[in-house]
């Protein structure tokens, strides 16, 4: 997905935005590798949309500097033509069809009109392109917004909550869509309140909270607050199972009827097999044996302290 030797698509430092005394974004430095799919995560009001708006030149930073697609952040006119974005929700003229709205944006940005049909097809609106935008469902509006973001074949695509208000099927469609957008080597920056969605598509993460940066880097290097475990249970033999695993040299902790075995540096699959084999040899039948992974949500929640990451 990523691993580029090219300059970062986005490299900004000290990004700050204040409205009067209220600091919305506080000294955030963001680096987005070219070709990566980067998730922008943070609780509601963390400043995600403001960060994206500053990258797009819609909001003027109070301070901060850097480059977007090799151009000075302070001169968005120089690079915004190569950035496609869906930010703060889709915004189109309700009395025009989806296709007519795209055509209007093509005129506005001097894009290639031949892109319209393939983009409508890509976002699954080929059959509904001539319907009035005002008659679209929320999911269809989001998809049209993504199509609009892809006009002009941008190098950097910024999607702000693209799954907002979309049903589970629509979320899956948009997840696939984000993957397809990235397939052309584009850099994608996406924020979502559904961390599980980002877990499936992103390779980099930027985590912000209360306007400040909490983490940025590869997703698999996101700090894990607590160690991962294998949960084991055996009907009516919880104590025996716990004692057995401890005697076997494993770091096991009894939690009611369940025993949790620390994975540490071990291979979880091999460790699970070992536990199963040990229990079987001792005549204990396991009723539960699974690797309890930390989800992205768990890890982000630990990072930002409390509240719901979104």
């Amino acid at each position: 997905m990523s691993t580029s030797t090219l300059p970062d698509a986005v490299a900004v430092t000290g990004l700050t935005k204040r409205y009067g005394r209220r600091t919305v974004v506080d000294d955030v430095s963001v680096r987005i590798p070219s070709g990566s799919v980067t998730g922008l995560i943070g609780p509601n009001g963390a400043g995600k949309t403001t960060v994206m708006s500053m990258l797009l030149g819609l909001v003027r930073p109070t301070s901060g500097e850097g480059q977007v697609l090799g151009h000075d952040l302070a001169r968005p006119k120089a690079y915004v033509g190569r950035v496609g974005a869906l930010i703060e929700g889709p915004a189109f003229h309700p009395s025009m069809s989806g296709r007519a709205n795209l055509r209007n944006l093509v005129r506005l940005g001097r894009h290639d009109p031949e892109q319209i049909a393939p983009l409508l097809h890509l976002v699954g609106l080929a059959d509904r392109g001539d319907d009035l935008y005002g008659a679209y469902s929320l999911g269809m509006k989001q998809r049209l917004g993504i199509a609009a973001a892809l006009l002009g074949d941008p190098d950097l695509v910024i999607l702000d909550e693209p799954t907002n208000g979309v049903d589970p099927q629509g979320m899956r469609d948009i997840r696939h869509l984000v993957r397809r957008i990235a397939e052309g080597g584009r850099t994608v920056l996406v924020s979502s309140h559904l961390l599980a969605e980002l877990e499936h598509v992103c390779d980099h993460l930027v985590v912000i909270d209360r306007g400040g940066l909490r983490y940025q880097g590869p997703m698999d290097e996101l700090p894990t607050g607590r160690r991962e475990v294998i949960r084991v249970a055996a009907d009516g033999a919880a104590t025996d199972l716990h004692d057995l695993l401890v005697r076997d040299g494993l770091e096991a902790t009894a939690r009611g009827t369940v025993t949790e075995v620390e994975i540490g540096e071990a291979d979880p699959v091999r460790l699970a097999a070992r536990i199963n084999s040990t229990a079987h040899a001792a005549g204990i039948t396991l009723t539960e044996l699974h690797h309890q992974r930390q989800t992205l949500e768990d890890r982000v929640l630990e990072l930002v302290g409390n509240g719901s990451a979104s």
Binding site: V59, G81, F92, L108, G109, G152, G184, T187
Partner: protein
């Protein structure tokens, strides 16, 4: 997911960013859903108001009279005067267009494809003014035709309406009405951009153009001299002028207001964050 990555260098960015705002807005206004009601309203308005002005015209005196209508250029006198009653409508339309673009997010969406804010604002405004010019032209055509049909039955002599002086007068009337429209358009655009809310913008606009301009302004010499709506009214209806004001003073004041409004709009376009 992919191994290929795109170069971060730019190519032809400026070319891509150039222009398009006028064409996009002009095309949007060219939708049947927009122009059909606009044309129907204009035709109805021009016919009804012209008819009313001629039917109620006195033989002599200031404004639209049988005597004035019977002179060279009389054919466009009534539609020209009819425009004065459209001030609040014009203001409301332009407040709605500019504030609506902010509240609906279409200004933000447009900026993502045309990041040159001034170019976008100027192109969009010019397209709206071009649309206004079409509407004004239609107002004159329908008004003239209505006057030609109704006038003779009211004692208006239309024999001088097609001489060269009449066409020159028609062109002047057209430009004065267009100037009147551009003035209200600038006011409406500034109010819409400042408030960024259609209901708030309309409330401010109607309050100003209604009671403040017409009740307060008309009642005081200061208002008659300085209130922009009244000055614009004098442009299309000089007979409504209740104080002594030369053309130089009238157009000089309006030009100054125009510069101030352009400055306000430029500031709002260029400096304010786009957060909706």
């Amino acid at each position: 997911m992919t191994t290929a990555t795109r170069p971060a260098e730019t190519t032809g960015t400026d070319r891509r960013l150039r222009g398009g705002a006028f064409l996009a807005e002009w095309t949007r206004l060219g939708q049947r859903r927009v122009w059909l009601p606009a044309i129907a309203t204009t035709v109805l308005y021009a016919a009804v108001v012209t008819f009313a002005l001629i039917a109620t015209a006195q033989d002599r005196g200031p404004g639209v009279t049988i005597s004035a209508l019977s002179q060279s250029g009389g054919g466009t006198l009534a539609p020209s005067s009819a425009a004065r009653f459209a001030s609040v409508l014009l203001l409301a339309v332009f407040v709605g267009l500019s504030a609506g673009a902010f509240s609906k997010g279409t200004w933000r969406a447009a900026l993502l494809h045309h990041p040159g804010r001034f170019g976008l604002a100027v192109g969009t405004f010019l397209a709206r003014i071009a649309g206004l010019a079409v509407i004004v032209a239609l107002l004159f055509v329908v008004g003239w035709a209505t006057a030609a049909v109704v006038g003779p039955s009211q004692g208006v002599d239309t024999s001088a309406w097609t001489d060269a002086a009449s066409w020159q007068s028609a062109a002047e009337d057209f430009l004065r009405v267009l100037g009147f429209g551009v003035g209200w358009a600038l006011l409406g655009t500034a109010v819409g951009m400042a408030t960024r809310s259609v209901p708030v913008g309309l409330a401010v606009a109607v309050l100003w153009a209604g009671p403040i301009e017409n009740v307060l302004g008309d009642s005081f010499a200061f208002g008659q001299r300085w209130f922009p709506g009244l000055l614009l009214r004098y442009v299309v209806a000089p007979d409504s002028l209740g104080i002594s004001l030369s053309n130089a003073e009238l157009y000089g004041t309006l030009a100054a207001y125009g510069v101030v409004l352009l400055g306000v709009i430029a500031f709002l376009v260029g400096r304010r964050d786009v957060t909706s």
